[in-house]
Symmetry: C2
Subunit: 317 residues, 2 copies
């Protein structure tokens, strides 16, 4: 169990109930063909079918709904490579408040367009963490907006926990759960859901070799920031959060990594066999499963397909 009092069974349940009117309970799909290739039973929780096309809708919605009336008046601000940006813009729009979104100028076009569609006010910056943070700080200072971090935020983590919670409710006997890790919002939320609702499930984190700060941090047992990430998995470029890391360190069995070629092969397998659209970041769990089949042999394995917002003009096939 995590030691911090920020989290509890009650808080997880309350967050899920709070956001339910604003999210889809996403379906769980499976593929006989991919099971045969992997040698285990795979249960894909389809957050690519979530509102805004990604699980980030859950955390952003919970964070916005927990704002005070005074905070709501000045709106919210964040920096995000994409899905959290859309999620916060839509959650803010639903709540009738302003959303200021700082996006790297390299963000996929489809994600920028979606943020604007949801009424978000976009400010572009250089694609570095420092540029994102200083640009966001300027908006906080000028507008008095509340900063909603994409993952290093307790209310966001509580919101993200609802996806794994739903999966554990639908399938109470999952042996292993595999979760991609970027900043660690979904992973730390999923660990909380496991701790309280499916304690016998083992969790592995899945990470691209080209952004393996979680792997390094897990091995060193201290937070090592990500520098110069280089991977196709554009949702997993950031460093682990301060709030997320201790939960992850105590909660996962291991961090498994894979190369971009393996990510693209797993992505293609899901596209061709399941006929659903997923982002490269989503394919990382399947890639590490196919790379480490012995860890999963004949097990019931849950994994979250985190999002489906790809730029169709820049596919890796």
């Amino acid at each position: 169990m995590p030691s911090t009092s920020l989290f509890s069974t009650e808080k997880i349940v309350e967050a899920h109930e709070r956001i339910k009117p604003f999210i889809h309970r996403t379906p769980v799909l499976s593929s006989t063909a991919i099971n045969a290739i992997a040698g285990c039973q795979l249960l894909f929780k389809c957050e690519n079918f979530q509102k805004i096309g990604a699980f980030k809708m859950r955390g952003a919605t919970n964070a916005v709904l927990q704002l005070t009336e005074a905070q709501k008046k000045n709106g919210v601000v964040t920096h995000s490579s994409g899905n959290h940006a859309q999620a916060l813009a839509k959650a803010a729009q639903s709540a009738g408040i302003k959303a200021y979104i700082v996006m790297p100028e390299t963000a996929p076009k489809v994600k920028v367009a979606a943020v604007k569609l949801y009424g978000g006010q976009v400010t572009f910056c250089k694609p570095t963490l420092q540029a994102r943070e200083t640009t966001a700080q300027k908006i906080i200072d000028e507008k008095g907006a509340t900063f909603i971090h994409p993952y290093d935020n307790a209310e966001v983590i509580l919101g993200q926990s609802s996806s794994a919670k739903e999966l554990f409710e639908d399938y109470p006997d999952i042996d292993v759960f595999v979760c991609p890790v970027g900043g660690g919002g979904l992973l730390s939320g999923s660990i909380l859901a496991r701790d309280y609702f499916s304690p016998n499930t083992i969790i592995f984190a899945a990470e691209p070799e080209g952004a393996n700060d979680a792997y390094q941090s897990f091995q060193a047992k201290k937070l090592i920031p990500q520098t110069n990430p280089n991977t196709i998995a554009d949702g997993l470029l950031t460093s682990l959060g301060e709030l997320n890391f201790p939960i992850i360190l105590n909660g996962v069995k291991n961090v498994l990594t894979c190369y971009d070629t393996e990510i693209v092969a797993a992505m293609r397998l899901i596209w061709e066999r399941m006929k659903i659209i997923i982002e490269p970041s989503c394919a990382v769990p399947l890639a590490v499963i196919l790379k480490n089949k012995e860890l999963f042999a004949n097990k019931k394995v849950g994994l979250i397909l985190t999002g489906g917002n790809v730029d169709l003009e820049k596919l890796p096939f």
Copy 2:
């Protein structure tokens, strides 16, 4: 009601029951965003999630299961631009019989690979109807195999009727049904399902301008063969079948056509908004709906997404 005694309520029900163990009952999806764009309530019957990735599994399975024991010994043969080929190969494999598949040398790689995966014996030919037919005839003469036509076959039509039947069972109050038309197998089957199970539903056929033989035949009230088709909708290139045409002539309200640019735009809308993979041929119904919004305003509209077998290296985006 169609005049031919080849079809009846009982035969449709029996065909559906016969194939049920071998097919998926496919889900019906909807999209708030696309409904808003179209100005009506769209119900997408997802045959892209069907076994082999297309509705053709239904008709091929019914045809194979209706063979005599004597016929089964010599196997089956067909010519197909793709999905019927995969379907017949897989249906034959399940029944433990041989499948000889004549494919145009221009068929998508992913479809050829799938036919071989299901144990089909592929013979390539020039991409003309004449070349297909003479090559298939040669195999009939040499092997004694039974020819299973992709659409001009009563058992195939009965099998295809099960998709619309399922949709009408799930949604008994569909105002309008829009169906793509190539050879007319799915369309004639859907008309039979409508006649017997949802008689108040109006049916429109949807066809690419570049292969508009159904439009021309419907206007002339006589079967006009397709010559030199030119469209991205590679599942809709063939001429209407002899058995299919009278059912279609009596059963549809009209044949609506659209251009390839409109097909690609509709396809992209489904990919981006619904996060599911569909073939260009599938997008023709949505394309004609978006082109003729006044016909569908505020109606409950059913449409079949016929398949998801696209060559990911040759996307039109």
